[in-house]
């Protein structure tokens, strides 16, 4: 970033009277009937910015924040071994790996299932707040952070896939079985709602502060 002065003179689509189709990235000239403009290439409705982007994004972020508590506090997996059942939360599983000495895999799970959801929620809230207060600094960094949040979004499903595979694999009847526990749907909900929050957030709103 080379200071604020040259940035403000750059021409944006809004200034030039050009709209971008969000589905197929076709550039359309803004007419008088900007209300129901349709993309000539993919026939989807064109809006200068995604409509109600912030409201949707807030809704999904708050949903995921609420779901995050049961997802981390309730047990996510139950191991039955010789008739005795033992439930474990996400943290229990990570602590188990660190105690066993497998630090690599422990770190992978710690990052994917605890740090990533928290980072996503905090990051999106930071971006939303900065849009509300029209904060002009760190624009490029915020965009990069958002791109990173979009990229890591799907990786939190890791724990769910592991549990799904474990329930199918470890099925030895009385000797040992693994079943999913109540936190699994909540955790799934966290992943889905953070992904939706990122999908609805229009990054161009970050840059509108600089206009």
């Amino acid at each position: 970033m080379k200071g604020d002065a040259p940035r403000k003179t750059l021409l944006t689509g809004m200034d030039a009277g050009l709209f971008l189709c969000h589905e197929c990235h076709y550039v359309v000239k803004a007419g008088d009937e900007a209300e129901n403009l349709k993309c000539p290439r993919c026939h989807s409705a064109i809006h200068p910015r995604i409509p109600n982007s912030l409201a949707h994004s807030w809704a999904f972020v708050i949903t995921s924040l609420v779901l995050l508590f049961p997802a981390n506090m309730l047990p996510i997996m139950a191991v039955e071994y010789m008739g005795s059942s033992e439930c474990s939360t996400i943290m229990d599983g990570i602590i188990y790996f660190f105690k066993e000495g497998s630090y690599g895999i422990g770190t992978v799970i710690l990052v994917a299932s605890v740090l990533v959801p928290v980072f996503k929620i905090v990051g999106i809230i930071m971006i939303l707040v900065s849009i509300h207060f029209r904060i002009e600094s760190w624009l490029r960094h915020k965009t990069l952070m958002f791109r990173f949040i979009e990229f890591i979004g799907r990786w939190s499903m890791l724990d769910i896939f592991v549990i799904a595979l474990l329930t199918a694999l470890v099925n030895f009847g009385f000797l040992s079985t693994i079943v999913a526990a109540p936190a699994a749907p909540f955790f799934c909900g966290v992943v889905v709602s953070t992904m939706l929050a990122a999908e609805f957030l229009d990054t161009r709103l970050i840059w509108d502060a600089a206009r």
Partner: protein, 242 residues
């Protein structure tokens, strides 16, 4: 920038041809269209978003890779991935079995989430990509192609095969100490499927696809209207005259 001038009110009034520019989808910056070579990338100078990344023979490559993926799909999903052996007791698990066991044990939402993200959406993505690429190769397209490509773009980030792959690796490490593990056919098919899926979506040149589909659509509507103007007088009208 070209075509920039002042209007009567003194505000900066800009008239640009929409075909000559890219608009950055992430920061709305106007960027003049430059022709770039296959393998190069055009990035937004303000936020770094990739605007254009042509691939040489992209449609053919994408079609070949998505066909490969489709061939590997059924064995990768339904054949067992791993065999566990604890004290002589054996147990196998496939991706399909993992979804089934979640659904059977009452976790309907979680089960459906895994079903969608690891089976249904990856399959749909490969299927759509194969059909769309075939049409782009032949320079054909219709409203259905447009709808299919839109659906593909929507589904793109919801297919999570690579996450499942890491999940398999984590599972292996988890069970490493208590059981002996053998890798089955499904495991290797899954690796192939994953490679085909990732490569096919990285070879996809969206701008080129949209342009080809758009041109084909315009051509078909033009020929339709031309055909309508050439339609002879309807037969009932002819009968009335006689």
């Amino acid at each position: 920038m070209d075509g920039q001038g002042q209007d009567s009110t003194g505000n900066k009034k800009v008239t640009l041809n929409p075909r000559d520019v890219f608009l950055c989808p992430d920061c709305d910056l106007v960027i003049p269209k430059v022709a770039i070579e296959p393998g190069e990338k055009l990035c937004c100078c303000r936020c770094g978003c990739v605007l254009d990344a042509p691939v040489e023979n992209g449609a053919e490559k994408t079609m070949a890779l998505s066909l490969t993926g489709l061939l590997l799909f059924v064995p990768a999903i339904f054949l067992p991935l791993l065999t566990l052996d604890i004290l002589g007791l054996e147990s196998t698990g496939s991706i399909y079995a993992s979804v089934k066991s979640l659904l059977v044990s009452g976790f309907v939402f979680t089960g459906f989430a895994v079903l969608l993200t690891s089976i249904v959406i990856p399959f749909l993505k490969l299927m759509l990509l194969c059909v769309i690429s075939a049409q782009v190769c032949m320079h054909r397209g219709s409203r259905i192609t447009v709808a299919m490509f839109r659906l593909y773009n929507r589904l793109d980030e919801w297919g999570m095969l690579e996450v499942y792959m890491i999940g398999i690796l984590v599972t292996i490490v988890k069970l490493f100490h208590m059981a002996s593990i053998t890798y089955d056919t499904g495991f290797f098919c899954f690796i192939g499927l994953l490679a085909a899926t990732l490569l096919s979506s990285s070879m996809l040149d969206e701008n080129y696809y949209w342009n080809v589909i758009h041109e084909a659509c315009q051509k078909s509507t033009q020929s339709q209207t031309a055909a309508e103007t050439l339609v002879p007088v309807p037969s009932d009208v002819v009968e009335e005259r006689t």
